[in-house]
Symmetry: D2
Subunit: 243 residues, 4 copies
């Protein structure tokens, strides 16, 4: 059975020709990720961006999405609350949600976490080493003990998130910080994965191990079932006899 | 050092003279809880209700609250989003938050959980037995193996919440259901406790063991420190030398 | 890729012709489970019992086992510590381990938990209802909201186990108790599942939903990789230059 | 009410005059820790060492211990299994257990974890920065954002432990590794804390912030109640009527 993946991208930095991202990702980060995931024959891949009608996330698209990947940074506030409501509702029903890098501050991720999602940051050309803490977790499949990222923006603790259900990866930064870089959650019937790498000014999403993580995360986040609605249920007739 | 507790109540059922709550809690559930907590000499207790200006939760009150207890049921939607924002912000900064019974569906609790908080329910005069799963948790202090509640509204699984950090209690209902009835979370710097008992039509908050849980929960939810703000921090100067 | 399953059974009750188990499971509980799992074409199924040489768990068998299912009750103490060491070692390397019912008190399960694994019990012909708490967990695949077991031995809280990583099921018993009946853990590189149903005097393992849980649990417990050894590693050369 | 603390030390390195520990801790690590904890007027402090009869952990001592601190390294295997059984039994009944540094490989800690507790290590005069992940956890009381340790043995992931219930601290090492350095567990009725700092060749336990962690950890690990025994209980009479 195929997995229907929608890759959402704010798609702003890449259109700014003064920004490094315009060189690195001329067609947008979403297209680079789409291409990376494209090796998987059972993935049906769509992309969507902020400036499309309904940010590209129409009911039809969402209803046909098993896993939604989200990259945003500059203009989180421009994402419509009505669309965020629909995304959240779909996660509650079982859609997987993968928040990448600066999507820690996106509206849907903050809503799913219930915390501020604040962190420390610094962009100083430093290297990161992503340690795999749970080597037998599905998201770690095919990886070694760590992933070396030659250049990454530093994201440091304290990262204000709820304790992950599974902490798959911890990042080490040359400048002296650590970060919970790969965090798994269940929210409603949906699975949520936060993955820290992916600053727009570095070619992180072209790195094969990073692409492996994304592919694994999509497979992990695909739910057994997606329902139409989650509601309170009044139980008229008790299961056991009440005198 | 004293603990400053604010007990918030929707205070609607009790004012409806046709409702059993008007007989059981003539001064309101908040006053019954306030009286119960009043045995603790180090608790400074305030109450607040929906119909007060700013729902009784002015900046001054919130800034002087270590732990906020919340009871609501009928009119969750009448709670102003602006006040909810302030409550959430204060939890992020370290205020404890205790959601009682039907507050599972209150705006602040849903915001803190990031899920639908839906459940099953039935009001059929049945008994509940609240099993203590973690006998050495601070919230279980002074309790036996279980608490028998002669009459309680049934709340049943699946309760759509994130996996609790600590599941302190599980409820058994005569009619055949179970419920995660005592659930601990950390959200931001604040501690959150959901406690299922307390249907307005039964005298649950007059029961001594239930009062013990409330007192314990207040002590547990009191933070070591409450800060003024939680923000992202740009780290100009790395802690380690970067070449 | 196939999954190599070994079903271990103490196999004592079934050989006692005065015991109900001898009628219910004339060939042994292990054979009943083997038959149930036999529908899965990618499962390679073996059985092993206490009275076989090395309890049927030779190095060769263990080294060819991806998931070990364990049923024991009467004579946990007769299981050799040397074999338990080998089982534990294989779990550390990635073998899945599924402890059924009274295997809560088996040597390997207690070793993996690090707790006493004590509980309450009563055998009184009562019914159990197994509530699914995490409907989208792989072990819940294909199940409804609950499983009704017409007759089961009561196992009640407090069950002295570490907090499960995922609590998939909670049992309700007619006589008034609850139980954490489906509990997931990671230990070393291996996945561990405890599943409470399966008293030898009732035909629980013939029930289709129970068989579904067993099949799902085997698939879930199969590791991405099983290694030969887990050791401390001295890192001679640091990954980063130390001055 | 006072807290009865017993500090156990292998006490071998310090007696070897060629070892740096003999200069740093001439009276033993246990005495240095005892002195540090001695500022707390409600702590009743004892020490015990390997070469004492019963390793200093007689029934009388254990029965009067609320929290046991454990430091060992060279001769874990010389610790008698009978004494380990008693220690574990006391933890099951509610005694707190704090494992320091190389006690990751001590018999009682491995028993409590149920895993290999293997890790990476290197002794190369490097600095560690201990990041506080949960700033409002009782063990973090009075600490800043991190603790700088000028010189520490590197302990690196993957650390083979069960997922901590609360991960309070993560260590950063100059040479490129990270480590889950402050890990909380519940085992039986007892609380368990693993704290990574404290290589015998560096003056780590003289550092005030490290001493603060030890004091906080003792207060956190003190149980509400310690029982005499934890047993399976046969429930003769059901709580609810069974027909």
């Amino acid at each position: 059975m195929s997995i229907r993946v929608t890759i959402w991208n704010e798609f702003k930095h890449e259109l700014d020709e003064k920004h490094a991202a315009s060189k690195l990702y001329p067609e947008g980060i979403h297209q680079a990720i789409a291409k990376a995931l494209g090796t998987e024959v059972d993935f049906e891949i769509r992309t969507a961006t902020l400036d499309q009608p309904e940010h590209g996330l129409t009911d039809e698209v969402l209803n046909q999405t098993d896993v939604l990947i989200w990259w945003g940074h500059k203009v989180h506030h421009e994402v419509s609350d009505a669309i965020v409501d629909k995304v959240i509702n779909r996660v509650m029903c079982g859609m997987g949600f993968i928040a990448l890098h600066s999507a820690h501050f996106s509206k849907p991720f903050i809503r799913l976490m219930g915390t501020t999602c604040t962190l420390k940051y610094r962009d100083a050309n430093e290297n990161e080493r992503l340690w795999i803490i749970e080597p037998n977790h599905p998201i770690a499949k095919g990886l070694g003990e760590y992933i070396d990222i030659p250049c990454e923006e530093m994201y440091g603790e304290r990262f204000d998130i709820p304790t992950p259900e599974t902490l798959v990866m911890v990042g080490w930064f040359k400048g002296g910080e650590v970060f919970r870089s790969g965090c798994c959650y269940t929210r409603g019937l949906g699975k949520v994965f936060y993955f820290q790498p992916g600053h727009e000014a570095y070619p992180v999403y072209y790195q094969p191990e990073i692409q492996t993580v994304l592919k694994n995360a999509v497979r992990w986040a695909k739910a057994e079932r997606i329902v139409d609605e989650v509601e309170c249920v009044h139980v008229d007739k008790p299961l056991e006899q009440l005198v």
